[in-house]
């Protein structure tokens, strides 16, 4: 989930992509960690990670996913 780790399906809005239905089960599970699958403590990963804006060059107001998992643009 660090920007340098983009995963096999790339990033969108600074979040790694899960890929389609043919993705390996292992990779899907990795992505589901974000939603807290199987841990029993809610979305522990998302709750403990924050995007900190420095110079703003990799931050995109409309297309990044902020709260609620969807970008602000329609």
């Amino acid at each position: 989930m660090v920007p340098s780790v983009k995963g096999p399906y790339g990033e969108e809005g600074c979040r790694i992509q899960e890929g389609g239905r043919n993705t390996s089960a292992w990779w899907r599970m990795m992505c589901h960690v974000r939603e807290g699958v199987g841990s029993g403590v809610g979305s522990w990963f998302d709750d403990n990670i924050r995007w900190v804006v420095g110079n703003g060059r990799n931050t995109f107001f409309w297309t990044n996913n902020w709260l609620g998992g969807a970008p602000l643009k329609l």
């Binding site: 989930m1 660090v2 920007p3 589901h32 939603e35 807290g36 699958v37 199987g38 841990s39 029993g40 403590v41 522990w44 709750d47 403990n48 990670i49 924050r50 995007w51 900190v52 804006v53 420095g54 110079n55 703003g56 060059r57 990799n58 931050t59 995109f60 107001f61």
Partner: protein
């Protein structure tokens, strides 16, 4: 933040709650001060200085998880208790019953699915509270 400043207008008249959001938005963004010499980055709140580590995260997850007392485990596997009852109790303590919340968490159901599934309970808490009644 990304892109050039443009003169923007609204395509339609805003609803009352949308106007509130428009007012609230600049207030939220006021705290953001761009610093040219610092790159944007992810901060791991559990350890902002050393950053993410598997070890620290493991400690966090294992300490937060609801601890199941040893006594409870021993009672579950008592030889006088029928195995199907033991199995149910064990799955309940591990929160491995296919309740609605578990099915949503494992992406079998969508959170907004409203249909009623026969025999599917909403959550482990519901089962435990009904057991108390029995």
């Amino acid at each position: 933040m990304g892109g050039r400043r443009k003169c923007l207008g609204w395509r339609r008249r805003l609803l009352a709650w949308e106007k509130d959001s428009v007012r609230e938005c600049p207030a939220l963004l006021n705290n953001v001060i761009l610093q040219d010499n610092i790159q944007d980055y992810w901060r791991w709140l559990l350890d902002p200085i050393h950053d993410y580590s598997v070890c620290e995260t493991y400690c966090f997850l294992t300490s937060v998880d609801e601890p199941v007392a040893d006594g409870e485990n021993n009672n579950v596997w008592h030889k006088l208790v029928p195995s199907k009852v033991s199995l149910f109790a064990w799955r309940l303590l591990q929160d491995r019953i296919p309740t609605r919340s578990n099915l949503v968490m494992r992406h079998v159901l969508q959170p907004n699915d409203n249909f009623v599934l026969e025999g599917v309970v909403s959550s482990r808490r519901r089962i435990i509270s009904s057991l108390v009644v029995i």
